[in-house]
Symmetry: C2
Subunit: 141 residues, 2 copies
């Protein structure tokens, strides 16, 4: 199972983007500063988001990124899979042909992880960027 900072950064950055892209493209530099994420790392992430048509870019001065869809049309599944955070739990080796661990049977936990995977995916399927915009940033304290 993979769910790391990269996925979190992607979501954070997109929420930030959704809040500021009403008029002009938003530069990664701004997002970097506001969210405290390394600019270089953001570029890697946005490169993937772009490949997956989640954002559009404008080059040059005053350029930046814009969402390619409305916030409520962008599901978290889309975001996470775009940055290669496969919500795949533990894969049994060569599960396709043989059973797990080279046995002739599926391992007893096989269905379990499948179930969990579905469970999590459903969670991310229901949530959209829009949902995250609502509870904005809460003050600590």
């Amino acid at each position: 199972m993979k769910l790391t900072s990269k996925g979190r950064y992607a979501v954070m950055a997109l929420v930030d983007l959704a809040r500021f892209d009403t008029i002009n493209p938003v530069s990664l530099r701004d997002i970097s500063l506001r969210q405290g994420i390394s600019l270089d790392y953001l570029e890697q992430i946005f490169s993937k988001l772009k490949r997956n048509q989640i954002v559009k870019s404008t080059r040059g001065n005053q350029g930046g990124y814009v969402l390619s869809k409305k916030p409520n049309e962008i599901k978290l599944t889309n975001i996470l899979s775009a940055v290669d955070e496969k919500v795949k739990t533990v894969q049994c080796k060569k599960e396709s042909k043989k059973g797990c661990n080279g046995k002739a049977t599926k391992c007893v936990t096989h269905n379990l992880w499948d179930e969990l995977e579905t469970h999590i995916n459903t969670f991310f399927e229901k949530k959209s960027l829009q949902d995250l915009l609502k509870n904005k940033s809460e003050r600590v304290n």
Copy 2:
């Protein structure tokens, strides 16, 4: 988020144990052979399971491990947390005092991961070893 082979092995081994411990303690060697898990690795895992009172051990010849509770009393949460598979998603740095990423506010995704965590934990809370014993091992094909 951590959910790796160690957790899967722990569950697999305990299901195996639950099936065979009716009379005598089950040796790790047997589990190792049946489940195709390295014996040395199993020892590490069972050391943790023992520390967390999930299994009891008998040393010496004919020794081995036995469940310390009934299969329906052992929830998957117990197993996974015993082997340090913290179902903790992404933690924001120093979230306690300051906000995330050193900002004064919680990051926008903070509540999201909290929610997910709860979501997953609920899943594991409901499942017991007993549940896994039912759908035994299915043949591939």
